[in-house]
Amino acid sequence: MKTISMRKLIAAVGAAALLSTAAVAIAPSAYAAAPTCTKASDGIETCTGTLSNGAGYLIKVPAKFGGTFFYWNHGIRFTYPLPGVITVPKGVEELTPSNVPEAAMLRAGYGLATYDGVSTGGLRGWNTADRVEMLKELIDTVKAKYTVRKGVVYGSSQAGSIITPFVEKYPTYADSVGIMAGVTPSIGQSLQALCDAFYILSVFADPTIKGCAAMGTKGLAGHYAAAAEFGKVVALLTAWGGNLGAPGLEYPAALKGSGIPQRSALLLTGLLIGLPAKSAHMDGITTSPVIAEQSINATVAILENFGEAIATGTFGGQAVSELTGPGFYDNTKTNWFSLLDPADSGRYNLGLSGDGAIAAMLGVLSLAPRVTGDPAAVAKLKALDKSKFDTTKPVVLLSNEADRLVFAGNSALYVDKARAIYDVKLAKYEAARDSAKTSEERAAAAKLKPFFNVASIYAMTPETYTVYTAQGLPNLSGAPSPSGVGHQNFTLKQMMAWVKILAHAADTGKVGSPGYLQQYIKKAPGLNSDLDYRPADLKYIW
């Protein structure tokens, strides 16, 4: 999901009545067009063409091509427009992550290729199944023209849901796999939490919010219905941003007059859904005369993160709902108390207004009417992806510690799933090894020995970085944290470290030893040299 200006999104709410209902016509192509290539004076050959479904692709190859190709997969894009706010992209937008490392990768001798996953062909939005096939066709196209020694399949965000099933379906098409800020690959777990956010706000702040329960209508009508829900949240955040959430809760009736400030409900909502308590400008630690305590800093971080997180929930959720149908969200069995990590209730106790307020807020959530989904749609959400996580290809994940769109816990979940497969293989190997009596049996057992071929790298924020004005207000318009925040937002050095690790992994078939990885990590400020680091888990795991 590309970054959306909050101001523009707020403007979108006002413009909603003017929205056109015209559908975008898509005319799929029957044949792939042959690439058209030109060579620039710097020796870089650029090729363009279209896949069989009419989607464009872009290839660039440097004069000193070393034989390794990187195949880039971008994340989700908007399916429908909002006049003046959202333009549905057309054509290839980026050849490499945010186009940041393109020049450096070409200088390093890598061939680059990507395809336009949104403009045409198949279902847009959460069109992972189509894009698996589009990626295969792209690689076939590249291989038909160039001699490719090694191939790296990599991508960002939604692409986690594309390249994981891709490499399992077409294992010979990738020598290494890179997932940047990616979902695990199912977005289902993340969506459940983001839908919770809507629901919790409907209890505490605006009973008219329907959130994910309003999603599921296909086409523009559904898109606008989802946008309207998003607009309600934006209105809330705007108000809370103006008064710092100071007024006491008005909803539900049980909490009116309790003295629990709205900001405590906001903080609780963020913590319950697993939203990072650090943001672009708020470090979750430092204080000032206005930001009196660390948990207040974290509350402002939640406020700063909330808009784009809920935008993901809105437009990602609406896109997914076109696959599942309405009613994919169900919270009838949600235990709100268990969603609050004891560490969070302790650490942010003051911001949450103490144990009494925490119990009161969770108590009314537990008693509030629940959202009952459609079992069939819920089942589809949980079955969005059928990946086995059993690829033997090296996989290197890269995440920001405080990614507000795709939480870093996604990477941890990927590692866990891959580790579970590895553990099964390890047990089989150990059983065979221990029962082997002959040299032949021992040799056969040795062949079963697995290798854990996943590495997860995280970009971290500095310890503290909030800048305060002379009055003690946090400066939310200044330079953000230089590392660890944002979505698909990494420095060139961080991206190139990841790229080099992926290239090496493609060559060797292994992610590299910790010592080897450190060679590159240490050259990229902000990357965590602690390879055993684990971010907070996602709130839902299945």
Partner: protein
């Protein structure tokens, strides 16, 4: 860039060594391989506490006392020839810094174990990760009972009795001593306060919300103050006020009550909130002379699991005080409860390390063979260190009046407390003239008089594990 071509031969050899080492999985690491933080000459331990900031007074002396005891041990040759080095990080009692400083202790300082970390709200932010990494997290300075369930946190061990245990013992005493008095409570509405309430309830002492029970959000005692809570207790005729809060809140409470003219018959304070020097330091910062703050403390009831620092007749106090005089290089080495606690943790840690490296020690059946073999080779591992503490809790010596109760089912520390009252010299004295140690558990077990006989401290003040 071609990595191989860009590396010199020397670097390549080094890199190869790293690669070989790095490619080993955990299962392949020899059982007798030493863990991080241990070398032939040194054991590195890590600690987190508020060295600075509002929560630091008093607590910021514990690390200096621990280091003083370790320096004393080092002056006697260390443990198995290894010197103990204590690396300390200041988290200013902000959990965000607790997380980053824990990472630094793990990844940069390469500590063998965390020891003596201070603060419930801060430690709760890192305890899960420390345990996930299987790093020993020993002698934690928090009485929060949830930390010490080995099923949840297998590497974490307490340095205090739990708040539940202490509240049960204090509650029983107050209920029996003052049957006709109206007893109320002021508590911080977090894990600490909730744990204490649970203990008092188990002792049959319950309170009425908004009448005899007043709470506040931890951290607001300095900014918002506690006047409304004390006004409520006063208005409801509370004659004995229990305080279940940190020392800074106790100070604000007593000072505010004085300003309000509220003079309950007794104040009774859970021990972590009643340290005299901490109270007097905070009072001093508000312009209250020492003589006046001492007078405010006089008669205040509290509890302790160990001898009062002013108990000059106690052999542990005498021994630790001398070590403090000789080895403490801290900015404030004045002998008090914080220093005593730091010394005792140093003493317990030394015993646990010695025991782990003693070939005659017994470990759990699962690890006994490996750990005894390690001990013979003077190889210190995290697994064996944890195993030793868990298996030999009652053998780890300490100044406390009950034994450490570590086992496979609990990592709670001390089960016993004695009840005292501060005298005019700010020394906690037994309420009945003679110290009676009561013991119980964090569950529903009864409160009984302890018959534990504390082992004598050796002449050299070194544990004999």
């Amino acid at each position: 860039m071609n990595i191989r071509a860009s590396l010199s031969r020397k670097k390549l050899i080094g890199l190869t060594a790293v690669l070989i080492a790095g490619s080993m999985t955990l299962a392949e690491i020899p059982a007798n391989a030493a863990d991080p933080g241990v070398s032939a000459t040194e054991i590195v331990l890590g600690m987190q506490l508020p060295e600075t900031g509002a929560a630091s007074p008093g607590y910021n002396k514990v690390d200096d006392a621990m280091r003083a005891y370790f320096d004393y041990v080092n002056s006697k040759g260390g443990i198995g020839g290894k010197k103990i080095r204590l690396e300390v990080k200041d988290d200013t009692y902000k959990a965000g810094l607790t997380i980053s400083t824990a990472s630094s202790l793990i990844n940069k300082e390469k500590v063998f174990a965390f020891i003596g970390s201070i603060g419930t709200q801060t430690h709760i932010s890192v305890i899960k990760d420390i345990n996930r990494r299987k790093i020993p997290d020993v002698f934690v300075n928090s009485g929060f009972s949830d930390f010490y369930n080995p099923a949840t946190y297998p590497t974490t061990f307490a340095a205090l009795g739990t708040y539940v245990t202490e509240a049960k013992i204090m509650g029983k005493y107050l209920k029996e001593k003052y049957p006709d008095k109206k007893i109320g409570i002021l508590y911080q509405s977090d894990d600490f306060g909730r744990n204490a309430l649970e203990g008092f309830a188990k002792a049959g002492l319950t309170f009425e919300a908004k009448k005899t029970s007043a709470d506040f959000i931890a951290g607001t005692q300095g900014s918002v103050g506690l006047a409304s809570q004390l006004t409520q207790l006063k208005a409801n005729g509370v004659e004995i006020v229990i305080i279940a809060a940190v020392s800074s809140a106790t100070a604000v409470t007593l000072l505010t009550a004085s300003a309000l003219g509220y003079k309950p018959d007794k104040w009774a304070v859970i021990s972590v909130g009643s340290d005299a020097t901490t109270f007097q330091t905070i009072a001093g910062s508000k312009g209250i002379p020492a003589s006046m703050s001492a007078a405010m403390l006089t008669g205040l009831i509290s509890a302790s699991h160990a001898p009062a620092p002013g108990d000059s007749a106690d052999e542990y106090v005498t021994a630790f005080k001398k070590i403090n005089d000789d080895f403490n290089k801290g900015a404030d080495k004045r002998w008090d409860n914080n220093v005593m606690q730091g010394m005792n943790i140093g003493y317990m840690a030394t015993g646990a390390l010695k025991g782990t490296l003693n070939p005659n020690s017994t470990f759990s059946a699962k690890n006994n063979k490996t750990c005894q073999a390690n001990a013979k080779k003077a190889t210190l591992t995290r697994v064996c260190f944890i195993d030793y503490i868990e298996t030999n809790g009652s053998k780890i010596e300490s100044a406390a009046f009950t034994a450490l109760q570590y086992s496979a089912t609990t990592h709670e520390a001390f089960s016993g407390f004695w009840i005292g009252a501060y005298d005019a010299a700010t020394v906690l004295q037994p309420v009945s003239g003679t110290r009676v140690v009561y013991t119980t558990d964090s569950g529903n077990g009864p409160v009984t008089v302890s018959n534990y006989k504390r082992p004598a401290i050796a002449a050299d003040a070194l544990p004999k594990n």
